[in-house]
């Protein structure tokens, strides 16, 4: 897969925002891995490094209140949907100042103010939920589209087929997004089905579907613009297979030995952060100084997030009993 830099169709503001978000996610995730190594962060931890163009190209094409639901590789989308680096890092540290008071950790982030629905740790379970979120938007008569994200592994779950079927039957305003990074944990897409082109799954439901270069932020933006326009107009779901890549293993405990070094390098050559920086400079969209300013600001933002997390208090044990029920006087057993 080759990504070529086209003549810029987008504004300086758009390019710099793409670059800022991608670099923030990249630097944040690098820091996450470092702090995991220091055992400041525990549990399962899946980083987004390599897939940043998906988040950036998607966000620029959405309306602020378009709901998003995704899986457990969620730090990047959480940052994109307006959860501060402080809150994301403090959550990884299990601190009470974290996005969900240390209750969720790496896999569970939510932001009701921007309609961000997380953060789901059961592979594929969020696919029907995303269709349901879209059903509620349709029911209430809003013009919002629910972006329902999942990985290539989840594309083999039965929940997907049931949700695709109902979403098409009821013409729900949903864009289904498969972030195909090639591997379901250690099992390649080719080893899990006879159908290797995931976008073809949509054909069984007559759902408009296409494969997209997920390493190119411009291409991702264009695909989302087209898909959301379709879903927003009342025509029903759209399915995007975004071909992307994760440079790291499935999780921090996975060295990723099932992949050849050359394969990882091939993708690093089309790294979205580098490619976008190069495009900005070569096409004189912005200056070296503009780029450096973003780099400095992000370095500071990530360092501040670590400091915030380090200095934040842990939750009290009593917090564990809160938020099981809305009912405040629920009689728990002891």
């Amino acid at each position: 897969m080759k990504t070529t830099v086209k003549k810029s169709k987008y504004s300086k503001k758009t390019y710099l925002e793409w670059y800022r978000l991608m670099l923030l996610i990249r630097r944040f995730e690098e820091k996450t891995l470092m702090m995991y190594g220091q055992q400041k962060i525990r549990g399962f931890c899946h980083v987004y490094i390599g897939q940043e163009a998906v988040a950036a190209g998607m966000m620029s094409a959405l309306k602020p209140l378009d709901p998003i639901i995704t899986a457990y590789r969620v730090h990047g989308i959480a940052l994109a949907k307006g959860i501060s680096a402080n809150q994301v890092m403090a959550e990884l540290y299990g601190k009470v100042t974290g996005n969900v008071k240390g209750k969720g950790g790496s896999m569970h982030y939510y932001n009701k103010a921007t309609q961000f629905y997380g953060g789901n740790g059961i592979v594929g379970a969020q696919i029907p939920q995303g269709a349901g979120i879209a059903l509620a938007e349709q029911y209430k008569g809003t013009n919002n589209v629910c972006v329902t994200m999942f990985g290539d592994g989840a594309a083999r779950q039965g929940a997907l087929y049931e949700a695709f079927n109902m979403a098409m039957t009821w013409k729900l305003p949903v864009v289904f997004v498969c972030e195909n990074n090639g591997y379901a944990m250690g099992t390649s897409v080719e080893r899990t089905s006879n159908v290797h082109d995931l976008y073809k799954i949509g054909a069984a439901f007559d759902m408009p579907s296409e494969a997209v270069d997920g390493m190119s932020v411009e291409t991702v933006h264009e695909a989302f613009t087209k898909a959301t326009k379709h879903a927003r107009s009342g025509k029903g779901p759209y399915f995007l297979e975004l071909k992307t890549y994760r440079y790291k293993g499935h999780s921090v405990s996975d060295p990723g030995k099932y992949r050849k070094k050359e394969e990882v390098q091939e993708y690093k050559d089309i790294d979205p952060v580098k490619v976008t920086e190069k495009a900005i400079l070569s096409q004189k969209i912005a200056s070296e100084k503009d780029i450096q300013k973003i780099k400095d600001a992000i370095k500071e933002e990530v360092a501040a997030a670590v400091e915030f997390a380090e200095n934040s208090p842990l939750p009290t044990p009593e917090e564990l009993y809160k938020d099981n029920y809305v009912q405040e006087d629920y009689p728990f057993l002891d």
Binding site: H108, G132, M166, F332
Partner: protein, 326 residues
């Protein structure tokens, strides 16, 4: 004013009244709309509320339960009908990992006001896969509430509360009780979740039960009365949160307890009650607690198997006599 109506009518009245009251309430499931419900619980609701609010789904329990969960997170109050709770097993991921967890995972940002409802328990000669009870399964999970009843009056008041509840509620009915009749007021009323009801007062022994096993318990109590044994019968109505106070106060009065529970014995509803009673009323017990459960086996088709498997008045009477040393 009250009139005599069936369980299915009572459930339909509860859902319809709540749908008239709150436009965010909707009903979805297999055959609920055009077919008027597999057991006619939703008869006529499509005509009144239209296809937007009474939604026929394909046979895809996992999928439509998940769509219900998503809709509930986003401000609606779905009632998801399962043709039977046996089929809901396919949807347990969405109930247990989804509905029950969102409030906690999101630290209070997203609640999931949804009702999952349908019949639970054996309903004749339906064999292994259509005869199970799920009260103890679901009640094991923090984050959900569980209601189980076949009494028309209780069912209507509890269903209205379940729909208005801001937490997920699993509501369990019975295929063999939908035609059961009972007195139900014409005026609106609600019954709060979490309260048991003493359906018969007595002094010698407490019998605790729920759902259609209440009929077995009541029938046994009548027989026992002929032998001069006065049984108090407690209907749990809500399984989670359970009304331990009512059970324990009754045991403190009668000093003897029999639990009639269609769950399997291992970690069933009766196990939980037995634990609580030995802990909080140990000194009041004059005999070990006796329980009458469905037998610890899968249920086969033949009428002989059904007869052998289910609690019946005879087994309850024997259990009471065991608890009374008579």
């Amino acid at each position: 004013m009250s009139r005599i109506i069936t369980l299915r009518d009572a459930l339909r009245e509860a859902m319809s009244e709540e749908m008239r009251r709150d436009e965010n309430v909707l009903l979805m499931g297999e055959e609920v709309a055009q077919y008027n419900g597999a057991y006619k619980v939703s008869k006529g609701m499509l005509d009144e509320f239209g296809a937007k609010r009474v939604i026929d789904t394909p046979i895809a329990e996992l999928g439509f339960a998940g769509i219900g969960v998503g809709a509930a997170l986003n401000g609606l109050r779905p009632i998801v009908e399962f043709m039977t709770w046996n089929f809901a097993v396919l949807a347990f991921d969405q109930i247990v990992n989804g509905a029950a967890k969102y409030l906690h995972m999101s630290a209070g940002q997203y609640n999931c006001p949804i009702v999952f409802r349908g019949p639970s328990g054996a309903a004749g000669q339906l064999a292994q896969q259509h005869s199970q009870t799920f009260e103890s399964w679901m009640a094991n999970v923090p984050g959900v509430k569980v209601v189980s009843t076949t009494d028309p009056y209780d069912a209507k008041g509890l269903m209205k509360s379940a729909i208005r509840d801001d937490d997920p509620v699993c509501f369990m009915e019975s295929e063999v009780a939908y035609a059961d009749k009972g007195e139900v007021p014409e005026e609106e009323y609600l019954i709060p979740l979490g309260l048991a009801d003493i359906k018969r007062y007595g002094d010698d022994v407490t019998i605790v039960s729920y759902n259609k096993m209440m009929k077995v318990a009541m029938s046994a109590a009548e027989e026992l009365a002929k032998d001069g044994i006065s049984a108090e019968v407690v209907d749990l109505r809500t399984i989670r949160p359970m009304d331990y106070d009512t059970i324990i106060n009754s045991v403190k009065k009668t000093n003897r307890l029999v639990v009639v529970d269609e769950s399997w014995p291992f970690a069933g509803v009766s196990s939980e009650i037995s634990h609580q009673v030995q802990r909080y009323a140990f000194d009041y017990l004059d005999a070990p607690i006796v329980r009458v459960n469905a037998k610890d086996t899968s249920l086969g088709y033949s009428s002989v198997y059904v007869e052998e498997y289910l609690p019946n008045p005879k087994r309850v009477i024997e259990a009471v006599k065991q608890a009374m040393y008579v």
